[in-house]
């Protein structure tokens, strides 16, 4: 394998790792905090209800925004690091 394709291969692996990590957070804030783990979080009160309700109606959406911007920012770094930016 040439250096060139090895470089690209590493870039792609880094991208896939970043995606997997982001998807874990994505699932944790929505399916986790908002739905499945809600009974576990019911002890944590917030504004007359529990943390799970907040995740379902506000927290998950705010986390999604943070996730996309973090991904875009990290990918820009990776693009430069591997010399693959446009």
């Amino acid at each position: 394998m040439s250096d060139h394709t090895q470089n690209q291969e590493k870039y792609w692996q880094a991208n896939v790792r970043l995606i997997l990590g982001s998807l874990v957070v994505w699932a944790l804030v929505s399916y986790g905090g908002g739905i499945l783990l809600r009974p576990m979080l019911s002890g944590i009160e917030i504004g007359g209800t529990d943390l799970g309700f907040w995740f379902a109606q506000q927290g998950s959406i705010l986390s999604f925004i943070a996730l996309i911007f973090h991904y875009a920012w990290r990918m820009n770094q990776l693009d430069k690091e591997f010399g693959l930016e446009e």
């Binding site: 690209q8 870039y11 792609w12 991208n15 896939v16 995606i19 982001s22 998807l23 994505w26 929505s30 399916y31 908002g34 739905i35 499945l36 809600r38 009974p39 917030i46 504004g47 007359g48 209800t49 529990d50 799970g52 309700f53 907040w54 379902a56 109606q57 506000q58 998950s60 959406i61 705010l62 999604f64 925004i65 996730l67 996309i68 911007f69 991904y71 875009a72 990918m75 820009n76 693009d79 010399g83 693959l84 930016e85 446009e86």
Partner: protein
């Protein structure tokens, strides 16, 4: 000035703006028509995507759905936003790098198969047409309520307006009109919400007001709401749900369905670079969130407001006299969207949950049944009146509702027309068509699409709610997995992709039709659509996620048993993975 004149002024002014933009942004080439020339700024595209995405359903219906279902309907909030995370990481940047005009373009090239391309075209036309019917009907309702014309006239006005800027401007005209429409709709949605939040909680950000103290009673707003609805026999607003598996699958279906909708995906073809596609998805979600974070606040506050209007002294005291009801109730009664029937003949309005469990309590209070039926779609539209806001706010809501419906309709019509002119005519029937010929074909197919959508909007097939679910199911089970495998796997070949798409699509359709009737014809369903009958408690609307899993599984198994992907296609997959390379969308 009368309310009618104010509404006319706001709607007229917003339309003048859209027409002005349409004339300024005419499309001269197919590239401008399909992808707005590929030079749209990522923030601008984010705004246009938000307007493209937020339909009459988001603007008008969603808050009403949440108000009625409480926590259980948070699925819509998470499902219709979480898809953007998938778009940003799994699809948009690579499809932008691929650099062609449509989704079937990619599927046809990547799976080196005309059949695969045609299956994709069929899926997206069914999904987009079903979706556009809802938009046209929504626009018709908004016109008839605020401009006092009948529904058919309203629909025709909507069709003419869309025709004018979409056919003339293509993606370029649509993009800049959508930016303007986003501004109109977000201002219209936010202003009444801020006022109501101030009235109820002294907090001017509705999303924070939702978790603040209810000024009048001194207890948290949501706790107050729970107490009030409990007294009237309803489930607690914040109550947890039992069937969590179904809630997860429904949310997942909405998320991957969102990421698989062609009219959303093609918006990311309009930005200059791969990096812009990623940023743009983030901006789109920011602009969407401005509405989606406010909607749950509007939902709970409007429900509390409505119940305090009916029971001014609290839910355990007497309800309001019918003769003393506020004027906004009278106006909406005329539209038939609020209905009152004095069942126990006491001249008061009893609104409660008429169930077996609450029978005894109701009887002891002398109630003979729920007397007020409020259509949940009017919640957002009537919001300014319920909160006693000035007339111009109502005019603004009218313009906002129309902006939401028209912007989505235009995006969908473009998706349909590009599938017909680019994928069917140029891609299959007449590959030698000239650029000018293709542009004319695109305009003609959009014209035909508008006629069909208007006709179906006037004669809705009677199952509008189900068909929208169908659109998401199809996108989730067929398009999304095919795109994802096309980018992330070099092993999936033409046979695997086609088998996968057909298996995902087929299983989803069969499951939906089993419960909702074959082709939605009433009485042809084989099982009653009740939770007891659902396999493992999975509702037909949640099946898209399972269809997607079936699609992935079948594609990998079939690909494993058949020949390898050709070397040049493997190179194509390589090339979409790295931003470096041809920057501009490929002209062809």
């Amino acid at each position: 000035m009368s309310q009618f004149a104010i509404n006319l002024l706001f709607v007229g002014a917003s339309f003048a703006l859209y027409f002005g933009i349409a004339i300024w942004a005419r499309a001269g080439s197919t590239k401008e028509f399909y992808v707005a020339g590929g030079g749209v700024h990522p923030v601008m595209n984010g705004m246009a995507t938000a307007a493209d995405w937020m339909s009459a359903a988001s603007f008008i219906s969603m808050a009403g759905l949440i108000a009625a279902g409480g926590y259980a309907n948070s699925t819509f909030l998470m499902g219709w936003t979480g898809g953007y995370v998938l778009l940003a990481m799994l699809l948009a940047p690579y499809l932008r790098k691929f650099g062609k005009f449509t989704v079937p373009d990619f599927i046809g090239d990547r799976f080196y198969s005309r059949t695969a391309r045609l299956v994709a075209v069929a899926c997206l036309i069914i999904a987009s047409v079903t979706y556009v019917i809802g938009q046209m009907t929504g626009a018709g309702v908004a016109f008839s309520r605020f401009l006092e014309v009948d529904k058919e006239t309203g629909l025709i006005i909507a069709a003419v307006v869309v025709f004018f800027y979409a056919v003339l401007g293509g993606m370029k005209g649509i993009t800049y009109t959508q930016v303007a429409q986003y501004c109109v709709l977000i201002v219209a949605y936010t202003i009444p919400a801020v006022f109501i939040s101030l009235q109820l909680t002294d907090t001017f950000i509705p999303a924070i007001g939702l978790f603040s103290e209810h000024t009048q009673s001194g207890v948290p707003l949501l706790q107050k709401l729970d107490e009030v609805v409990r007294e009237l026999g309803f489930n607690d607003y914040t109550a947890d749900v039992d069937n969590k598996v179904n809630m997860v699958l429904f949310t997942l279906s909405l998320m991957i369905g969102t990421a698989g909708l062609q009219h959303v995906i093609i918006r990311f073809f309009t930005v200059p670079k791969v990096a812009d596609a990623r940023w743009s998805a983030g901006w789109a979600l920011v602009f969407i969130a401005l509405l989606y974070l406010t909607a749950p606040a509007v939902a709970s506050m409007a429900r509390l407001n409505l119940l305090t209007t009916i029971y001014p002294d609290g839910p355990t005291e007497q309800a309001i006299q019918y003769d003393e009801r506020p004027t906004w109730m009278q106006t909406w009664e005329q539209t038939g969207l609020i209905k009152y029937e004095d069942k126990n003949g006491d001249g008061r309005i009893q609104l409660y949950n008429d169930t077996a469990a609450f029978k005894e309590e109701a009887a002891s209070r002398g109630w003979a049944g729920n007397e007020l039926v409020v259509n949940r779609d009017i919640l957002v539209l009537a919001n300014p009146e319920i909160a006693n806001l000035p007339g111009w706010v109502i005019g603004l809501i009218a313009a906002g509702g129309l902006a939401a419906a028209l912007s989505t309709a235009a995006g969908l019509l473009l998706a349909i027309s590009s599938a017909v002119s680019h994928d069917l005519i140029k891609g299959s029937i007449n590959p030698d068509i000239s650029e000018k010929g293709e542009l004319t074909a695109a305009r003609i197919s959009m014209f035909v699409a508008i006629i069909v959508a208007t006709y179906l909007g006037m004669n809705p097939p009677g199952f509008a709610a189900q068909v929208v679910a169908l659109a998401f199911g199809i996108a989730a089970a067929s398009i999304f997995p095919a795109l994802m495998m096309g980018i992330f796997s070099k092993k999936v070949n033409n046979k695997g992709a086609i088998a996968g798409m057909l298996a995902g699509l087929g299983s989803t359709l069969v499951y939906i039709f089993t419960y909702l009737g074959w082709f939605f014809i009433p009485e042809t369903n084989m099982l009653a659509n009740t939770p007891d009958n659902w396999i493992f408690g999975v509702s037909p609307l949640s099946f898209g996620a399972i269809g997607a899993v079936i699609n992935f599984a079948v594609a990998f198994i079939v690909s494993g048993m058949t020949e390898e992907v050709p070397a040049d296609i493997q190179e194509l997959v390589e090339s979409v993975r790295y931003p470096k390379g041809a920057g501009q969308a490929i002209d062809h």
